[in-house]
């Protein structure tokens, strides 16, 4: 047999209509005869994006699978008080340079957003594309205190940890990290333990899994008897993950399947994991919507405190009043509420005037629904 010629386009095979149709048909065959649709949570916001951008969500519904968006958007789950602490810092101090990712600057809080804040003389808020860029800002601006406000899951945490390590080795005195770093497995545990959402299975985030590996989710299958599959981010990737979960449900054999084998290893990335263990320690952290979750956040270890913005500037990371009592991002993040069922959605909350982080972030379920869904309620 001659090997098939690889396609010219990098991902066309994973997107093609015929591949997608074939897998959808296989899912439909499996769900035939079930008395209710299966409810599968895609944990990661990028998967939510794939499902909407390719228009797969309604097709899956027809095939007997309801997809529920999970908490996998770091911008969305970072509590307001991180933003408020920064707003306080830049409005009351001169020569502070906050470097952060674009989405984070637009999150509305009781004190406005980072974008609408007017910093004190010499202070500013700058958008960067990588933690490394923040480090370079510190090198180029020795007269300023550069604080990198980084929110992320296991995917981005190693790069952030590496940047801090570099700052330490270069003895950069004017660089520090405000860490809003979150871990996926404890959040899954909290969702399962709360029992509020009926979930038949999970699609695990592909790039988080590159770091933490397949075994990190074993407790979901073993303790909670809930199926799951790691999936990549092309339409066919996600559908293969869903097919695997549907099959596990039907056979009553929950496991952690790996449908993203081209990049995910069983043990994850040992180098990245070692770096995280060297620099960071877990603590009991607050998630917007999900609340206080045991060992679900990472912060710098005490030996790196010179680089920890919380310690360096004595930041008060305390829950304050929340901005919009009727914003229901919390329930959206838990999978309890579909974005369109929020009374604010599309009427007063839209991408130009977001009232909650889920309408701000490119991985936020509300923004994705608003942007990509035909017939979603508007205005």
């Amino acid at each position: 047999m001659t090997p098939r010629k690889p396609s010219k386009e990098p991902f066309s095979d994973w997107r093609s209509g015929s591949t997608v149709k074939g897998i959808l048909e296989a899912i439909r065959r499996e769900t035939r005869g079930l008395d209710r649709p299966l409810r599968i949570m895609e944990v990661c916001g990028t998967h939510t994006m794939t499902l909407y951008r390719s228009g797969l969500k309604p097709l899956l519904r027809e095939a007997g699978v309801v997809m529920i968006s999970g908490p996998g958007c770091p911008v969305c789950i970072t509590p307001d008080y991180y933003h408020e602490a920064i707003i306080d810092l830049v409005t009351s101090n001169n020569n502070i340079l906050i470097a952060t990712f674009g989405d984070l600057t637009r999150v509305p809080t009781a004190r406005g957003s980072l974008q609408t804040t007017v910093p004190s003389a010499g202070s500013e808020i700058r958008i960067v594309y990588s933690p490394e860029e923040a480090l370079e800002l510190a090198q180029k601006n020795p007269g300023k205190e550069v604080i990198f406000f980084g929110a992320g899951f296991e995917t981005t945490i190693p790069a952030i940890a590496f940047t801090v390590k570099r700052a330490a080795s270069e003895n950069l005195k004017n660089f520090s990290l405000l860490a809003a770093l979150w871990l996926i497995p404890p959040a899954l545990k909290a969702i399962l333990q709360s029992g509020q959402v009926a979930i038949d299975g999970f699609i695990y985030p592909g790039h988080v899994s590159v770091i933490i590996g397949q075994q990190a989710y074993r407790f979901v299958a073993e303790e909670f008897r809930t199926p799951g599959a790691i999936a990549g981010f092309e339409p066919a990737d996600v559908l293969l993950g869903i097919l695997s979960v549907v099959r596990q449900i039907k056979q009553g054999r929950p496991e952690v399947a790996n449908e993203y084998r081209r990049v995910v290893q069983v043990e994850g990335n040992p180098v990245a994991l070692a770096l995280m263990a060297e620099m960071l320690e877990p603590y009991h952290a607050d998630w917007r919507g999900l609340g206080h979750i045991k060992n679900s956040g990472l912060r710098l270890k005490p030996c790196w405190q010179a680089l920890d913005a919380v310690r360096k500037f004595d930041l008060a990371l305390q829950p304050g009043k929340s901005l919009q009592s009727s914003c229901r991002c919390g329930e959206v993040l838990k999978g309890l509420l579909e974005p369109v069922d929020c009374p604010l959605f599309g009427r007063v909350c839209n991408p130009d005037h977001p009232l909650g982080p889920c309408m701000v972030s490119y991985e936020g379920a509300c923004l994705i629904e608003y942007k990509y869904s035909s017939g979603a309620k508007k205005k």
């Binding site: 997608v20 149709k21 797969l56 097709l59 839209n350």
Partner: protein, 328 residues
């Protein structure tokens, strides 16, 4: 206190709101009200103006000079007018090297003669260092109508065409700023659309040059205007290979990237193939394609929809938050 945000100038929804709520009521008159790319004046005259603030001023495929002529020429062409005369106003930052200025002026001259337009009036201002960034250019253009957009005639079945691969200007600018530290062979598509003029007599009902907000924003505007949904096929939209590679890495949607030498054209169903063949015979539109049609079965009134390569349907919203300021 409400302040002007970058998004207000992005060509997206906030800019529409600004125009509709602040400008239109203030300057109320029948010519402005139409809000086409040019004002259609008595005696078959069309008038348009545009300011150019692109950063960087030189980029692969063009510079602020070529842009400032082509952009204004193209606004006239898609309004149905043959461009004839241009004004040229320069706002220059003190300290700009004369050699750079001369290079830009040479570009302007070359592009103007290529477009067969004369620069007949102008203005030069220099502002103190730091009060502008290198150079800004404003041009206004005037020409006589050879055709007339007829959006009210558009009906289900009419075809949507693009004149070439989309998104190249936006990406070229993005990469030229080097924020992402990657390089690519993508060059700006900055160029004149003069070759579209004869098509006004061949069944074309509407044209719009695809600039800020990209193809998706133009489609969404069109759908809002005509009262029917429009549906385009992802597979049919021309995107160059180089662009595809770069956007995969950056995670950018090509349908929201700006062009500076492409247009969306609505053609009567019966004439679509003929118009496509004419386009394909000309160098700048060799990769033109029919990408979809006006609908009456799929979608709701005012919606622009995309059938994805995976076979699903997706809404195309106008661009809301600015991808990148100062792309043109």
């Amino acid at each position: 206190m409400k302040k002007v945000s970058l998004e207000m100038g992005s060509g997206g929804r906030l800019m529409q709101e600004f125009i509709n709520e602040k400008l239109l009521p203030l300057f109320k008159n029948p010519y402005l009200k139409v809000l086409h790319d040019s004002a259609l004046l008595p005696d078959s005259l069309a008038l348009t103006t545009d300011s150019y603030t692109v950063d960087p001023i030189f980029f692969p495929g063009g510079d602020i000079g070529t842009l400032s002529v082509n952009g204004t020429v193209n606004d006239l062409v898609v309004s149905g007018a043959r461009p004839e005369y241009l004004s040229l106003a320069l706002i220059i930052e003190e300290g700009l090297e004369m050699e750079i200025l001369e290079k830009i002026l040479a570009s302007i001259k070359r592009t103007a003669s290529r477009n067969r337009v004369k620069i007949v009036t102008g203005d030069t201002k220099v502002v103190p260092r730091g009060q502008a960034d290198k150079i800004y250019i404003n041009t206004a253009g005037i020409g006589h109508l050879v055709g007339r957009p007829r959006p009210e005639k558009i009906k289900p079945g009419d075809r949507l065409l693009v004149t070439g691969p989309v998104g190249e200007h936006g990406l070229a600018i993005m990469l030229a700023r080097n924020n992402f530290r990657m390089s690519s062979r993508v060059r700006s598509d900055c160029g004149p659309l003069l070759f579209l003029l004869p098509l006004w007599k061949k069944g074309v009902l509407w044209m719009r040059d695809i600039t800020r907000g990209g193809l998706a924003t133009v489609l969404s505007e069109l759908a809002g205007k005509i009262g029917f949904p429009v549906l385009v096929e992802e597979e049919a939209i021309p995107v160059s290979r180089a662009l595809k590679g770069a956007i995969e890495i950056l995670g950018i949607d090509p349908l929201y990237l700006a062009c500076e030498g492409r247009a969306l054209i609505v053609v009567k169903e019966s004439e679509a193939k003929r118009v496509l063949n004419i386009l394909k015979k000309q160098a700048p539109s060799r990769q033109a394609a029919i990408i979809g049609e006006v609908q009456d079965r799929i979608g709701r009134k005012g919606e622009a929809l995309l059938r994805t390569s995976s076979g699903g349907l997706r809404l195309l919203e106008p661009l809301t938050s600015e991808l990148l300021p100062r792309i043109c």
